[in-house]
Amino acid sequence: MSEASSQKVVIVGAGPAGIRAAATLIEAGLHPVVIDEGHRAGGQIYRRPPDGFIRPPEQLYGSEATKARALHALFDQLVEAGRLTHCAGSSVIAAHERRLHVLREGEVQVIGYDGLILATGASDRVAPVPGWQSAGVYSLGAAQIALKAQGVALGRHIVLIGSGPLLTLVGAQLLKAGADVAAVLDTSSWHRQMRGLSGLAARPIVALRGLVLRARLGGRYHAGVTLERIEADASGIIAMRWRDAGGRQRVTQCDMVGMGWHLRAETHLADLTGCAFDYDEQWRQWLPQTDTMGRAGNGVYLAGDGARLIGADGAEIAGRLAAVACLTDLGHAAPSVRADLRKLTRLERFALGLARAFPWPSEMVRALPDDAIVCRCENITAGAVREGADFGGGEANRVKSVSRAGMGRCQGRYCQLAAVELVAAHAGCGPKDVGRFRGQAPVRPTPIGAFLRED
């Protein structure tokens, strides 16, 4: 026990994976440190509104309210009992030699660890559509966060574009809350969606729930669309131009567009802690290498959507598995994981179905006109990225240096996949051959004063 208390395990992220990891470590007698950017634990999917908001979990999380309630209660109870240290509103900006640099209220603090569990989650996987740099274009996740955590819609007339479960879910949630959703435009065709069916059958109730939500969208929902451009005037967007599955040109007036093609794993910290990466053909992105338990080596463990895009239920399981792996490696007795591993297999089959049914729109990205913006941070165009490939060859980091795509404030989080797709098309190879942008510290913008105050 005395050994247990001297070993330091740090968890980054307080979503479903981070909370389950913390609880598992605590049951084994450890006192973990949980660092999270949120002001209240829950992560994005189970994000909690600020104090003083009154909508109950049933209204915020729908069918997932019981799970959200259980996770929030568990975490709050562990904090109250003094069983963990919660660093809220804190960002890990760098990691080096088993030390994390943590930015909190304008100051950088260094925290060492024996074991590190990264539960950093995911963000929307977005693809550029001409005009997407204009005010009023948001990610689908943003539309959901605005509704859940602030009780607002981000526009008066809304068009949602992309593909994936979140497209349907956000549309249905906004409608239910009273927002004006003008159209929900899915780039995946019905035919394509059927290809995911065998995988989706692994979770029939979840699949059915998706169909019910889809039905609520009624005639607003269109499958197999082609997105042409987002029109804007001086104060923001005014219309979405698209073609329906039959090729007919359509214009939908709107002042907000929400976009997303499923999720992109948040892997910057895994990169900085030295994890190796593999290109995942299923998710069309680079993901950190781990064993089934989430073990990445070097005292680092990964859990949740930051490692494998299997959703919130899978994240709870992965959080427990990562904690068990960490406990075992630190010489502690750990609970059996057999049941969790079985469940995980089923969730992975479902996730594969999703990936097949709602694919990344590579053809759309490859066909972007030269004047379309790819990097929203610094307005770098598709033409500039292609030129970068002419100078730098078909290698991601050389194109990054030449074109600056991926060097803006978001550090490539929202342009990397599209940029790599363009480079691959230009160089006549696949995204896997192009490689990935290397992560660089600090992974969040940090004022220089935060370092000066360190001593």
């Binding site: 009023g136 927002a179 913006i373 307005n379």
Partner: protein
């Protein structure tokens, strides 16, 4: 009541908070983020430094950094993850002292 980009659909019975936007007094609700507070009366947070278009945020989860805004005193802040507080002085353009 608000005429800007966002529409308040729920949680409207909160205490009002006073702040200043481009020198004019405005009202937000306690618990609003700076982004919500600015886009309830307005349409933009800032102008892009690399193009002609205004910006109004993108991811709302602190990842894209599109929503940084000016404060009169100089330091910039991330509007989506900073709660608005009474007396805050925010700007959609750079303060006059900025070179």
């Amino acid at each position: 009541m608000n005429t800007g980009r966002i529409v308040r659909l729920a949680e409207r019975d909160r205490v009002e908070v006073q702040f200043f936007l481009d020198g004019e007094m405005r009202y937000a609700l306690a618990g609003d983020t700076v982004l919500t507070a600015m886009l309830a009366p307005g349409h933009t947070l800032r102008k892009s430094e690399f193009g002609p278009e205004p910006r109004a945020g993108f991811c709302l989860m602190g990842a894209c950094q599109d929503c940084w805004v000016w404060q009169e005193a100089g330091p910039r802040l991330r509007a989506c993850s900073t709660p608005v507080t009474g007396g805050m002085r925010l700007r959609t353009t750079a303060p006059a002292s900025w070179p």
